[in-house]
Symmetry: C2
Subunit: 239 residues, 2 copies
């Protein structure tokens, strides 16, 4: 074991929050994320991912949840560890950032203030970010596009009940392209990630549409032996 002094490295957490909101031009569902304006050097005035230092008595996920709540007021049900970023030159001082991500429901997203310090940006059209946060966001979006399964994406972005059109909107937003409704319906029917219910939309203006729900037997977080309890189950999520 090399006996260098490891205390010159500081440990931080950051979180990429992604929510589905209408695109300002098209009105179609699009991926948005809240960013925080930095008020101190380095990168003062730049936008950055919400985060901060890991406290000496905080676990990594609890720390990510606490810094996220403090900076953006978001308290997501699920946080998933994305990657640890630790390049030597990613910050003027040496910082290793453990990055989490969360896909949040619209009601969770609504708790974020949209003001001078915190603002929602289209995930594909954000300004240049502080540190290596552009690279982190690029990686997070790549992971989202490659790794989410039908079940997880439905549970993450939508409510308990949703129509197939709403579910297709999620996929179109994530994949960045339109999907054929008939093919999409067929693919959903072939899988077991999403289950039809007996309920329909009220249909004031449109024909009532059947409501679906996520299959509760499929876990949201694909983390095997490390899967933590959901945040609601914790008496005190961030200590």
């Amino acid at each position: 074991m090399t006996q260098t002094d490891p205390t010159s490295i500081r440990v931080a957490v950051s979180t990429v929050i992604v929510a589905l909101r209408p695109h300002p031009d098209t009105g179609a569902p699009a991926l948005w994320m809240p960013l925080v304006r930095r008020v101190t050097a380095p990168f003062e005035g730049s936008w950055a991912l919400p985060g901060g230092w890991v406290g000496p008595d905080e676990g990594l996920e609890d720390s990510a949840a606490a810094r996220l709540r403090e900076t953006t007021n978001v308290q997501p049900r699920y946080l998933e560890q994305l990657y640890a970023f630790g390049d030597v030159d990613r910050s003027p001082s040496r910082v290793v950032s453990i990055v989490y991500w969360a896909l949040v429901h619209p009601d969770e997203a609504d708790s974020v203030p949209d003001d001078w310090n915190v603002r929602w940006f289209l995930a594909d059209e954000h300004p240049q970010l502080a540190f290596d946060h552009d690279r982190i966001v690029e990686y997070a979006l790549w992971r989202l596009r490659n790794k989410v399964s039908y079940s997880r994406i439905a549970q993450a972005f939508l409510g308990d009940r949703f129509t197939l059109a709403e579910l297709r909107g999620v996929y179109e937003a994530v994949l960045g392209r339109t999907l054929d409704p008939a093919n999409f319906r067929r693919q959903v029917a072939q899988g077991d990630a999403v289950l039809a219910t007996d309920e329909t939309t009220s249909g004031d203006r449109h024909r009532p549409a059947r409501l679906y729900r996520s299959n509760p037997d499929l876990a949201y977080a694909d983390n095997g032996p490390l899967t933590p309890p959901t945040r609601q189950e914790r008496p005190c999520p961030s200590r």
Copy 2:
């Protein structure tokens, strides 16, 4: 941002190395990993994953490669970041460990000394490890069983050319169960991860068997925008 003092947290790297070697009882391919005996407190005398502190001028992956070479003499072609472990009580002092993993060829594995300080253990039958390393190994094996694709597992554990029986041996070792040869052959033929060559084994004692190779178009490391160059391409892999 909370202004706690983050310098009381130290950053370490550990690596889970997995290689395929014959099971001592059956002779069938099995998963083995090299462990390192700790010579200092805490957990003096216990076996642990190879690793050590991150140097102030080392990136995380370079650090993992350097500590691995120093402790076990292994220089794997690929290291992949597995997870950051940072529970408050995982060590007597506060340590965040960035854990990497690598699947290595037999020739890479042969460079590891098997002596008092470093020893190969069957992955499923290792002694109780220091710190939270049992949990880390459990997570790594779960990831291995869930996430490897045909292509990656072939490239990682076997040489440039391999028979279908050898490939099936890899899968049987990873999955911990025997597979039907005819079904396995059919599944391989349906995918594009493994390609037949014109070559065969020499077949001194057995009927010559066709040799296969991994499809080079399928990337080994599924890391998207973060995929690093392979270690051989680097002029100085660990600085």
